[in-house]
């Protein structure tokens, strides 16, 4: 075997390769870099949301004693909810880009491992989330004199927890996309909204009926939003809420990644990897 082939062979046989992950990240960065509509789409909705909720907050600040106690509570809610939504979407859209371009066959005859694809999808999710959320968060500062960054370190904890939960949801949806192809495309956009009413984004969980509360506490998001309100209203960072959210994150991430890897195997059994595309 030639020295070239020997090097390639050894690189490919390696069980985990940051180079392969970076290749997949590069592939999506190239795509974003040359497509301004894609970039605009990422930032558009979070900015519209912030504009809308900024004015609602202004109105409630003088008409609601609850909002008046912490003027940024609604804006912080909307921004953090968007972290979860963008994070989930970041995973699924990156996979959908592969399905749309019918590229899965090429990827899976390369030495790329399915778990490396998982990691690259989550890395892209982080990049897409930051591109989406940062402009919206920055716009709120001059427009409404509200900076979410004033929350300090707790913001990092809330952001990370919702980001990881978004990955878990994204991977679970990606698993369905691999199995069903484009027929399940709408799930990428809609599924996360099932959780919105029970996440306590704009109101405390205890306003929900008792049995709904039991369901709500099974997900990490309510712990984050309750934690956020504790910080904004009382200046207290509740470690207990954070730990519960992180523990649930871990469970959901394992379930999401497990579903993704399992669906990849099923796709190989059913011969779905070459039959993707519209």
């Amino acid at each position: 075997m030639s020295a070239f082939r020997d090097k390639v062979s050894r690189a490919g046989a390696h069980g985990f390769s940051p180079t392969r992950i970076s290749a997949m990240v590069m592939r999506h960065v190239y795509l974003l870099r040359r497509s301004w509509p894609r970039l605009l789409e990422l930032a558009y909705w979070p900015i519209v949301q912030v504009l809308l909720w900024g004015f609602i907050s202004k109105f409630f600040a003088t008409n609601s004693t609850w909002v008046a106690q912490a003027a940024g509570v609604l804006l912080a809610g909307v921004l953090l909810w968007d972290v979860l939504f963008r994070s989930q979407l970041g995973v699924t859209i990156s996979l959908l880009e592969e399905l749309w371009s019918r590229n899965l066959g090429h990827l899976f005859i390369s030495p790329l491992r399915p778990y490396e694809l998982c990691i690259s999808l989550t890395t892209m999710s982080l990049i897409r989330t930051l591109i989406g959320i940062l402009p919206a968060a920055l716009i709120a500062i001059p427009l409404y004199e509200y900076s979410i960054f004033d929350m300090g370190l707790p913001l990092l904890a809330f952001f990370s927890t919702l980001l990881v939960f978004g990955w878990a949801l994204g991977l679970a949806i990606a698993a369905v996309l691999i199995r069903l192809g484009m027929a399940a495309e709408n799930l990428a956009w809609l599924l996360v909204f099932v959780l919105a009413p029970i996440s306590g984004i704009y109101y405390p969980i205890d306003v929900l009926p008792g049995w709904v509360q039991v369901i709500a506490w099974m997900f990490p998001a309510p712990y984050v939003f309750e934690g956020m309100r504790e910080v904004l209203f009382h200046g207290v960072f509740r470690v207990d809420l954070m730990l519960a959210a992180l523990a649930l994150d871990l469970v959901y991430l394992l379930l999401g990644a497990g579903a993704f890897l399992y669906s990849f195997r099923v796709a190989r059994v059913q011969g779905l990897l070459l039959r993707t595309g519209e």
Binding site: R5, V8, A13, G15, I109
Partner: protein, 249 residues
Amino acid sequence: MLEPAIRVTRLTKRYKTVLAVAALDFEVTRGSVTALLGGNGAGKTTTLSMIMGLVLPTSGAIEVLGQDMVHHRYRVLPRMNFSSPYVELPRSLTVQENLAVFARLYGIPDRTKACARLAEELDLTAFLKRATGTLSAGEKTRVMLAKSLLNQPELLLLDEPTASLDPDSADWIRTYLQDYQRRYGATVLMASHNMLEVERMCDDVMVMREGKIEHRGTPAELIRQFGRDTLEEVYLDIHRREGGARAAQ
């Protein structure tokens, strides 16, 4: 003696009620150019997909370059590659970007130089900065080929390598593939519907029907066996016989 590039034993693939590949047995000699022929639904694509590890067999064994493809595919994937006009590269990425991504995926040493060399050989230099989706069929095929040769594969799998190309572009691709095969001693397994191409390029032909290999030999042997002048006539003979048998049923 060198082990075969591909050894397939009792290979079977069943999709629910459809038997796509039925207990196939064959070997592909190292350094040979082998064609897999057959009508639509004969089992060619399923067989190729199982050899690549994209589809798991229902039963049977596949050894590629001495490795068990079902259980150790990552040992052999870096040593093989695949090109098909039906599996595309991201259309919005430029040719250069696509090659750079796949060079990284394959862990190619000195990536920039390797991509530039292939671009030069395959006459891609002029449109390296163009989006892959904007290229003509012939240009796309050459890009796809460049992607599939990035890792200097010992085993190259091709699905209709010259489909939808004009005669001149098709001839260019065939000449390049033959040259690559000789230069690197690669094994080529290709599915094709172009009998002239198969006659020109292949030293071994397997004709599949209903998931089984019905006939095998060199193009010359098959032509002699069927008492015909060209492989195209042989193929039509087999195909019509199939049609007749089906009608009789």
